[in-house]
């Protein structure tokens, strides 16, 4: 029933590790996004994919690599985790690039020890 689902909900790991966050949407949308929300709740887009094609790639370190195996999935892989990567990561989707609204998942809280 969940429209945009992310796993895991919580991720606690050591600095230097590599981790992945998975996202799936069952809305039939063409466009998916990754956002980062910092400790001050500021929400900033990282990537967007439209029909599995990368559209937006903000100035995100190349340790972050999104992968879209199909339109319904957009995963985020992070290499060599750093303390500053601690945040809540949200996946979202919209019908297409020009069409809003964006539907958000409930987030993955990433904590780096």
């Amino acid at each position: 029933d969940t429209a945009v689902s992310q796993t895991p909900k919580y991720l606690v790991t050591q600095m230097g590790n590599d981790k992945s966050i998975k996202c799936e949407q069952n809305l039939g949308h063409d466009t998916m996004y990754w956002y980062k929300q910092d400790s001050k709740k500021f929400l900033k887009i990282m990537f967007s994919y439209n029909n599995k094609e990368l559209i937006i790639n903000e100035t995100v370190p190349n340790r972050f690599s999104p992968k879209s195996p199909d339109k319904a999935h957009l995963n985020l892989h992070i290499n060599s985790l750093e303390l500053g990567d601690s945040a809540v990561y949200f996946c979202a989707s919209s019908q297409d690039l020009g069409n809003q609204p964006q539907h958000f998942g409930d987030g993955t809280r990433l904590s780096i020890l």
Binding site: K41, Q100, F104, D106
Partner: protein
């Protein structure tokens, strides 16, 4: 030019009050202005949105006022309830479909 400035950072009102949250932008190419509501532990959810050719939009207790010449827009919540306590984000859409969010306003409605 890509910023959206939101104020206040936090707001406390009594039940029944009318909290007002303000946003300002610089980029005249922005073409869509949504407000999102976020509860703790949840993702943001669209509340109401407006396009720049309209000066006001109302949905239930929520109203957006839009001033194109001043490049400002605001959210008014009529007859606010404790269940409205949440963080509110304004946003603006740029030419690649990218949403640029304001800094957020934490609203507390006291019973």
């Amino acid at each position: 030019q890509q910023q959206v400035k939101q104020s206040p950072q936090s707001l406390i009102v009594q039940k029944g009050g009318i909290p007002i949250i303000n946003c300002a932008y610089e980029n005249t190419a922005f073409d869509y202005f949504p407000w999102y509501q976020q509860f703790p532990g949840k993702g943001p959810a669209l509340l109401i949105a407006i396009r720049p050719d309209v000066s006001e939009k109302k949905e239930g207790r929520f109203t957006i006022s839009f001033n194109k010449s001043a490049k400002q827009f605001s959210l008014h919540i009529m007859d606010s309830q404790p269940g409205d306590s949440a963080t509110y984000f304004c946003a603006a859409r740029g030419n690649t479909g990218k949403l640029i969010f304001g800094q957020g306003t934490t609203l507390q409605v006291k019973p």
